[in-house]
């Protein structure tokens, strides 16, 4: 490893010789996150020749200053503008203002708080039904029986696309490994998803869409000429399916895990189920669903006194930023009254801040409050197991015991 202090003197980024995609780092990223924050305001990861930021301030800066840190190179570690592994770019996310904004404004209309308020009653009803069923069982798996079952019950109907469980799980695993380096996880996920690729391609087309859904609204908007260019309704539907299922399931899993590990915090939402949303928010601070997202330097520049090379990827490590002691007091503690919404980076920040965040919040609040009303205590019935995915932070197993109130 290079001499960190000397490198800073020369204004070069200090070198951090750790692989952020090492399977052990993905299983437990905290040590990597701390080393990244303490290496300097920005570090160079030699294995991939990319920069990485982990302090809250620099993460926020990279995400907000789109003229310096472009999203056009894609949000994964590979530059999608360069030859190599092909994947369909997300035309809103992997783009910068003003082009991005003219698309986002249209999508926002159909994901607006008004649209979400209409869905809320259904989210609550389905949550109540599932919670009643869960109470009749002894031990359950918080990932499969709560997070996946609930999201795969309400989300497909809201978006308007059928999402059979094996299909969407395999596609999610593919997409969020594909945005990382071509390691063993990448190859395994690509292979596992092969049988579902045809399904995924056709499901995001107009023909498969349910009437009265968000995707239906997007295709209707396309017919009215609201989008600046053709083909966007399908592209946006594709990104809703990919972006909206896995990340929300991950967030609900993390919430349940933290609530089981912190019974004093669970007591707060059991006493006042309206606070369930705060638990989701605080869980997303501690365990954001996304491990990393990239931007690309648009030229030679400086960030916090460090000279940066042009045309180089910069990884923004959300979990590191969300536990930065420079920003959060006692950062590793799960405290739902922190009210860090809008400060933590679990939904990102800047032009590309999560467009589905209000659906995610509504879904999470519905299921967590339905449980809070019925369950006196959530206990871990075994150790939580994390699922290594290049771009994500997600649980694979969460054995829970729900103790009825």
């Amino acid at each position: 490893m290079a001499d960190t202090a000397a490198d800073i003197d020369r204004n070069e980024a200090p070198v951090l010789d750790i692989d952020p995609y090492d399977i052990e780092v993905l299983r437990s990223p905290y040590e990597f996150q701390e080393k990244l924050r303490e290496a300097g305001p920005i570090a160079l990861i030699p294995k991939y020749n990319v920069y990485a930021v982990g302090r809250h301030h620099e993460c926020e800066t990279v995400l907000k200053e789109f003229d310096k840190f472009t999203a056009k190179g894609g949000i994964g570690i590979q530059d999608i503008r360069k030859p190599g592994d092909f994947r369909v770019p997300n035309r809103m996310l992997e783009n910068d203002p003003p082009d991005h904004t003219s698309i986002r404004n249209v999508v926002m209309k159909y994901l607006s708080p008004i649209a979400i308020r209409k869905m809320k009653q259904k989210f609550d009803e389905r949550a109540a039904t599932l919670a009643d069923e869960l109470m009749e069982r002894g031990e359950i798996d918080g990932v499969e029986d709560i997070a996946e079952t609930y999201i795969l019950d309400v989300f497909p109907e809201a978006v308007g696309i059928d999402l059979p469980r094996p299909n969407i799980l395999a596609i999610g695993e593919m997409r969020f490994n594909q945005s990382g380096p071509q390691n063993a996880l990448y190859h395994a996920a690509m292979e596992k998803a092969q049988p579902y690729l045809g399904w995924f391609e056709s499901s995001c087309q107009r023909e498969g869409v349910r009437p009265g859904s968000i995707a239906d609204d997007l295709f209707a908007a396309e017919d009215r000429g609201e989008f600046p260019e053709p083909g966007l309704a399908s592209n946006m539907t594709r990104s809703l399916v990919g972006g909206g299922a896995d990340s929300t399931m991950a967030g609900i899993g993390h919430s349940l895990c933290k609530l089981a590990e912190n019974p004093d915090q669970y007591d707060l939402i059991h006493a006042d189920p309206k606070k369930a949303g705060l638990a989701f928010e605080e869980a997303l601070r501690l365990e954001p669903s996304f491990h990393v997202s990239y931007r690309t330097t648009s030229g030679e520049m400086e960030l916090s006194g460090v000279r940066l090379r042009p045309d180089t990827k910069v990884g923004v490590f959300f979990g590191a930023a969300n536990r930065d002691p420079r920003k959060f007091e006692d950062p590793d503690a799960f405290r739902i009254e922190r009210r860090s919404a809008g400060t933590h980076l679990g939904f990102g920040v800047g032009a590309h801040i999560c467009i589905g965040q209000m659906i995610a919040r509504a879904e999470a609040a519905s299921i967590l409050s339905a449980l809070a009303e019925r369950v006196k205590r959530i206990e871990l019935a075994g150790p939580p197991v994390y699922k290594p995915i290049n771009q994500m932070r997600m649980l694979e197993k969460l054995p829970l015991r729900l103790i009825a109130a």
Binding site: T101, N105, M108, S112, P113, I114, R117, G277, E281, R339, S340, A341, G342, T343, F347, V349, I353, C354, I355, Q357, M358, R361
Partner: protein
């Protein structure tokens, strides 16, 4: 410290001291005011911190409305009024001392 008065949906008034650079939404949620929800924490994504500025002179003194806020003001639960603002965007200045806003109802 500059002061802001919020007229709550039940017509009671709450006076808050808001530090320069802090938003009215942050101050109101920190004070536990139920009328301001602020789900997204100022990310211009939820439209649940809607207020109406009572005095036109203060509306003119407030920070300019960004295109995103303008769009989100069309999605509020209570219909938008000419002096509507999202209070997460009302970042305090000394000039805004004495601001009076009516809290929109409902927010959700």
């Amino acid at each position: 410290m500059p002061k802001v008065t919020l007229i709550n949906p039940d017509d009671t008034r709450t006076e808050l001291e808001v530090a320069v650079g802090d938003s009215v939404m942050r101050a109101a949620t920190a004070a536990g005011l139920d009328g301001i929800v602020g789900d997204c924490g100022g990310g211009l994504s939820c439209s649940t911190c809607h207020v109406v500025i009572v005095d036109d002179a203060y509306f003119a003194k407030a920070p300019e409305i960004s295109p995103t806020e303008d769009q989100m003001l069309d999605f509020t639960a209570m219909d938008r009024e000419p002096n509507s603002r999202l209070s997460c965007q009302l970042v305090m200045t000394d000039e805004m001392d004495g601001l009076v806003v009516r809290v929109a109802d409902p927010q959700l």
